[in-house]
């Protein structure tokens, strides 16, 4: 649309259905919810079968690191929501800055995750490690689920960063502009989903002991 005739007198009709675009994004998010939902189901069943071992294993995670990462993700959801509002008000530079802040927060989340995982691996707790295999079955399952679920979530953080980076380019090129913010909104929806999943991962792995 932005590459259309520069003369304001020429009316170029481009078919657009913003509501339909957002609905499409939501339908995609539902598939993501079911993907993670299946994993939460496995978690629920094994937690039910091994309640004490899950409790014991969860005390080995650092609640402080988990809390910091929760605050980081919640704040990044705020900055992406603000960026959409800013762009809709026509404040392009502010919108770009807010998407940039979201990216920095996402990176901070991953750095934390890296140190957290490294620490666990240094302690000998990683899938199929001799130390872990010596533990009772419930703890093996707990840490298996911990690595799988937070790992898949971290992968979504990386993908989300890629999407937001593309949005930065779109905003700076004017492909996404105050009159057409649907793409940024869809990118934001994806980012909020990543936050939403973490809202459940955090208590289930860090707090229930």
């Amino acid at each position: 649309m932005s590459t259309a005739a520069p003369s304001p007198t020429v009316e170029v009709h481009v078919h657009r259905d913003d509501e339909g675009s957002r609905m499409g994004m939501w339908l995609f998010l539902f598939t993501e919810l079911v993907l993670f939902g299946g994993m939460f189901l496995v978690y629920a069943v094994y937690r039910f079968k091994y309640p004490l071992e899950f409790q014991l294993a969860s005390t080995q995670l650092d609640t402080f690191v988990g809390t910091v990462n929760t605050i980081i993700l919640l704040t990044s959801s705020l900055t992406v929501a603000l960026s959409i509002a800013a762009l809709q008000k026509g404040r392009k530079a502010m919108a770009q800055m807010l998407v940039g802040m979201t990216l920095i927060l996402a990176l901070a989340f991953l750095v934390n995750k890296y140190f957290e995982w490294s620490h666990k691996i240094a302690l000998g707790i990683y899938p199929k490690s001799p130390d872990l295999l010596n533990k009772p079955p419930g703890e093996i399952l707990y840490f298996g689920l911990y690595y799988t679920m937070t790992g898949l979530h971290a992968l979504h953080v990386v993908i989300g960063m890629g999407i937001l980076l593309v949005m930065m380019v779109f905003v700076s090129r004017g492909t996404v502009h105050p009159g057409h913010t649907t793409r940024l909104e869809a990118g934001g929806l994806y980012w909020h989903l990543v936050d939403l999943i973490w809202i459940f991962l955090f208590p289930l792995f860090y707090l229930l002991h």
Partner: protein, 103 residues
């Protein structure tokens, strides 16, 4: 590019009428709920800990879905779709637990 972008039929108005303040308020609420759930984890609540933690997580999710994800500004169809997805997931959980919890 700098010309006025007029709305044509089929394009919803981009401005939902919400300011920055509402988002900041929701963010503060989310942080407060995070603090609450962490504080409660330090108290021995026994089996109630799962219920309280999941209730708080659900409240946080509703805030994110409704405000950050704009569900409350969207057409009612969106909310029905979300509800159907959540109910479907709940059915998976309940039916699975028939095999584990009630035998």
């Amino acid at each position: 590019m700098e010309q006025e972008h007029k709305q044509t039929p089929g394009q919803t108005a981009p401005a939902h009428g919400e300011g920055y303040g509402q988002y900041l308020l929701i963010w503060i609420g989310l942080l407060a709920l995070t603090g609450l759930t962490v504080a409660l984890a330090g108290i021995q609540l026994g089996r109630w800990i799962i219920v309280t933690a999941l209730t708080i997580a659900s409240v946080k999710s509703l805030l994110v879905l409704n405000v950050f994800m704009h569900l409350k500004f969207e057409d009612r169809t969106f909310r029905w779709f979300v509800l159907v997805t959540i109910v479907t997931l709940m059915i998976f959980f309940v039916l699975t637990f028939f095999d584990y919890a009630f035998y």
